[in-house]
């Protein structure tokens, strides 16, 4: 189907053949990738032995029979990093459209300053986090 | 003079230098290892020397030596003497799956019946096969190396020293007798 798409898009110049061709190739690669995994597991299915035993289906863990359930507690403190990351990632993606235009004619130093103000705000945030000891690991 | 990261760079240098050097891996099955003379590979039994004193079995920390024997009565050589009994070895086995190669049995043997052999390739697929019976232990005897030579300046072993002393005495006596005989003539 993706192939069809590629063909039909190529036939239709109005749709912008380069762009759609590139992503049609991506779609085709997805098909190839899935095919690869399928072939690998089909071969595996044909080659592998199947000898079930209840011991084998026990969780391996550290080699000793598991105690308790499949859940262990860990540091909730990691979670702050997750928040920080999401916020900074949203920030960072703005750099990319900016990077493509800021040095071209008609933007210049003004755009640079705009971005520095933007990043400056977040750097202040990072400093605040640092000051507050969020980045320290106690 | 140290700059930040000097330690990290040094670490990288060490691994890179090691990579260019010759490796120390011995490719064992293709190249036999050169073992030191006193390697503890397997324990050999010189059955002829064994008197079934059971010292080895008793001293073994792992209880891995099995000895069975029976007594045999020897008819008296002299009509006046009593008949003598002696121990005859029925079974001598070492379970190498238990043995920890401490060598105590070899140390305690008063009659030099046990020896270290450097042979080590006796792995088995069945653990029971690792119990070597007396014939197999006897076979290992052929692989026991001659004891390494003494240091050039070492003292003579006691038995050789005493034997030499006795021989010297005999020789001296013989020489003296010869001299006396010569005088008499």
């Amino acid at each position: 189907m993706v192939g069809q798409q590629a063909a039909s898009v190529a036939a239709d110049p109005a749709a912008g053949s380069g762009y759609f061709d590139a992503y049609a190739a991506m779609g085709l690669l997805a098909v190839v990738g899935v095919l690869f995994v399928t072939v690998a597991f089909t071969a595996n299915r044909l080659l592998r032995p199947v000898v079930y035993s209840p011991e084998k289906l026990l969780a391996y863990e550290c080699g000793v029979d598991p105690v308790g359930e499949d859940w262990a507690h860990t540091q909730v403190r990691y979670y702050v990093y997750a928040f920080l990351y999401v916020i900074f990632a949203v920030d960072a993606i703005y750099l990319f459209p900016w990077a493509t235009v800021f040095a071209t004619a008609g933007y210049g130093a003004g755009t640079l300053v705009e971005m520095f103000v933007f990043i400056g705000f977040l750097a202040v945030g990072l400093l605040y986090a640092w000051k507050k000891g969020v980045l320290e690991w106690t | 003079m140290s700059f930040p990261g000097a330690g990290l760079a040094k670490g990288l240098a060490v691994t890179l230098r090691t990579m260019t050097r010759k490796t120390v891996t011995a490719q064992y099955p293709d190249a036999q290892p050169s073992l030191p003379p006193r390697s503890r590979g397997v324990i050999a039994l010189l059955e002829e020397n064994c008197t079934v004193c059971m010292l080895c079995a008793r001293e073994c920390p792992d209880w891995c030596i099995y000895i069975d024997s029976h007594k045999e009565t020897l008819p008296a050589a002299d009509p006046n003497a009593r008949a003598r009994t002696r121990n005859v070895l029925d079974r001598f086995a070492i379970d190498f799956s238990l043995c920890m190669y401490c060598g105590i049995c070899i140390e305690v043997c008063p009659f030099d019946a046990l020896f270290w052999s450097p042979e080590f390739e006796y792995a088995e697929t069945d653990i029971l096969e690792l119990t070597h019976e007396r014939d197999r232990l006897r076979e290992w005897m052929w692989t026991v190396p001659v004891p390494p030579a003494l240091d050039p300046a070492a003292e003579e072993p006691k038995e050789i020293a005493s034997a030499r002393k006795a021989a010297d005495k005999l020789a001296a006596a013989a020489a003296a007798a010869l001299e006396q005989g010569g005088d008499a003539q």
Binding site: G16, V86, F121, Y128 | -
Partner: protein
């Protein structure tokens, strides 16, 4: 999610510029992906297995990225993947794992609010669809390639929308400070030596503190306090 799928229906909705129902490959794919997105979105909200819901969300958001691609909004599509798949979903999965999402069904995943939620969802979807349909009517937007590239996005962002962009940084800063204040608030309640325990009731404490406490105190107390501190 459903809005996106309904947006998909606008594909063949523009008969003015093209003959009615002359779907190109792109439009077919757009429609099919839209259906897949809608399907996985519905499963995401109806499944009773928490982590499965998050993973169906991955499928739905990934499908949306494909939709963006098909609309030649290249940059937005990959922002969708980077931010939503790469960080928001990871954040959600992370949170689910931290707070013990069980394997299998969670009986308490049934919310009493489900009908209210459905009504709200349908209402907002209806609003959006009405809005979009009314805004564009039968106008044909030629989706030329490169229309949504990073350069175009950057040009419009830094020529036209500079002020909102700068305001955004203040918003992000506020979110950052908020997150830190929240986490610090939680952090102060937690006593210094930390420990985890597994549900069988055996302490796997750090420095053996919990083990000692459990040995000293009646066992009913120590295990009860530990999870309350963690959360």
């Amino acid at each position: 999610m459903s809005a996106a799928a309904l947006l998909a229906a606008t594909g063949p909705l523009d008969p003015a510029a093209r003959s009615f129902l002359s779907p190109t490959g792109v439009e077919i794919v757009f429609l099919l992906v839209g259906i897949a997105v809608l399907g996985s979105a519905v499963v995401a909200v109806t499944t009773k297995q928490l982590v499965h819901a998050a993973l169906w969300l991955v499928a739905a958001l990934g499908g949306l990225a494909v939709e963006f691609l098909l609309l030649t909004a290249e940059f937005v599509a990959w922002v969708q993947v980077l931010i939503y798949l790469g960080s928001v979903v990871v954040l959600v999965l992370f949170g689910l794992m931290l707070t013990k999402a069980p394997i299998g069904r969670s009986p308490d995943a049934d919310s009493k609010n489900r009908w209210v939620a459905l009504v709200v969802a349908l209402a907002s979807a209806g609003t959006l669809v009405t809005l979009v349909v009314d805004a564009f009517r039968t106008s044909w937007i030629d989706l030329g390639a490169g229309g949504g590239s990073a350069a175009v996005t950057g040009a419009s962002l830094f020529r036209t929308w500079v002020l909102p962009f700068e305001a955004l940084s203040v918003l992000l800063l506020a979110a950052l400070v908020g997150a830190i204040v929240l986490s610090r608030g939680a952090g102060r309640r937690v006593p210094a030596p930390r420990s985890g325990r597994i549900r069988a009731g055996r302490p796997v404490g750090s420095n053996g503190t919990v083990a000692q406490r459990a040995a000293a105190a009646p066992p009913a107390e120590a295990p009860e306090t530990a999870p309350a501190e963690e959360s």
